[in-house]
Symmetry: C2
Subunit: 275 residues, 2 copies
């Protein structure tokens, strides 16, 4: 899906094209955020900005000035349709050859607007992916630009009846879907894998952990997921997505999940299924 509009900056300077020596391209040396734009506002923007800032601090990429970024974004999303997707990439900028960072870093910022994806017909049908997630605490939690694992996992199926794939880590524990976090209802608690060794600290995941008293981080085995009382995926573009099928297992709609979806819809009207 190509962009409806895009805007590039080197530092705070508009540029017309990306430098072919950008470290974002050369090494995936950067971060991104994908957010829902609804009625001219970026949904959960403070959480996206906080995650971006944390990633920039951990990778030591200078963060854009918050006020400057806010005003650029506001002007940029003003042109968006009523429902759209904002993608933001922040890289360490042009750097030529070699892993060592240049002495003076001028980060590259790419903003792009995309048409909102067609809604997924829920409940979702999932599969298990063969591609495993590597264990890398130095990068865990970040939404960084090194995403070949997700690309390989997503390339495992083309059947449009399969909506998403669940990935295990190299130890055999459940990690996440290719583009969403996962929660499983086990013994009355909504459990989601921690993101200290791998995975992305999803913005929707954080909303669930903060707003659902029965939600908690816990390691999950594939057997626990398959025997869970209910299962859902979540991300910042699609909100909460109930799962109806995973391999041979199927789930009927669960009242606790419907209640959580209603609560999300009241908190963020962009995710109100009736909206």
């Amino acid at each position: 899906m190509s962009a409806l509009a895009s805007l590039l900056f080197r530092g705070e300077q508009r540029i017309s094209a990306l430098d072919a020596g950008d470290r974002g391209l050369a090494y995936g040396d950067g971060l991104f955020e994908t957010a829902l734009v609804h009625d001219g506002l970026v949904v959960w923007w403070p959480a996206h900005l906080a995650r971006l800032a944390e990633g920039a601090a951990r990778l030591r990429i200078p963060m854009p000035d918050a006020a400057w970024l806010g005003s650029q974004l506001a002007a940029f999303v003003a042109q968006a349709p009523a429902r759209a997707v904002l993608k933001l990439m922040l890289t360490r900028g042009a750097g030529g050859r070699g892993y060592a960072s240049p002495d003076a870093v001028e980060p590259t910022l790419v903003l792009s607007l995309h048409a909102a994806p067609a809604p997924m017909a829920t409940p979702l049908t999932l599969r298990w992916c063969d591609t495993r997630l590597a264990i890398q605490p130095a990068l865990a939690g970040l939404k960084h630009l090194n995403r070949l694992e997700q690309v390989l996992a997503r390339a495992e199926w083309r059947d449009p009846a399969i909506h998403e794939g669940l990935m295990l880590d190299t130890d055999g524990q459940v990690g996440c879907a290719t583009a969403a976090n996962v929660f499983a209802l086990v013994d009355g608690r909504w459990l989601t894998p921690p993101v200290q060794r791998l995975g992305v600290a999803g913005v929707a995941r954080a909303w669930v952990l903060a707003n659902e008293p029965a939600a908690a981080e816990a390691g999950l085995t594939p057997a626990q997921v398959e025997s869970a009382d209910a299962l859902f995926l979540c991300n910042a573009v699609r909100g909460i997505l109930p799962v109806g099928r995973l391999g041979d297992r199927s789930w009927a709609p669960h009242p606790a999940l419907a209640a959580l979806q209603r609560r999300l819809g009241r908190s963020e009207p962009a995710f109100d299924p009736g909206s």
Copy 2:
């Protein structure tokens, strides 16, 4: 170090600038090669091309036609100084948003020429890096564009007296240097870690394995490296680099290593220390 010259293609079509939605930028969804150019020729080009082709097959990125690529490269390096570095990046091309590959992939090819780096004063001084290499068989061996681990490791030191850093994997075994493979002389054999679970199948590494009867793949512990009789790094730009110091350990020049360097210089005059 910025490029002396660069050339971009979408498929076989020249383009003037990279699409901001290129999957190389968005996901590190691509591969690269870094080669020495010497007297107008790309040193070890067949080995670079073979590795690129293997990586493209594993990532299912269409390879450029070999004859077309060869003629583009020949014209491109004809403008190079007597000694230079060629960098080649091949990505899955523009793809917008989402991990799923577009149905029709038009790969992006970026060629760039860079000044040859200043020679490193050998023997090298190394350090151990804190950043670990994740275990990921699906990507191991490939020179792909997901290089944040190397970026983080190289950012651990700024002391110019330290030439390179050795990285362990998350199991505590020795992996490689940030931008080179490593060989340790243990009980009369030159051992280098395998690249089936992590690491890059280096072109210089392959030359050593093919041309030094005492060389072999074997797992190495940090203690084995520190107690080795000799140690060297190697890569396709710098050839073989003897190590003189690693932390508290120091090594005197070793005749077997000097002999291997002479053999490399006879095989590839670009690496002849007297050249």
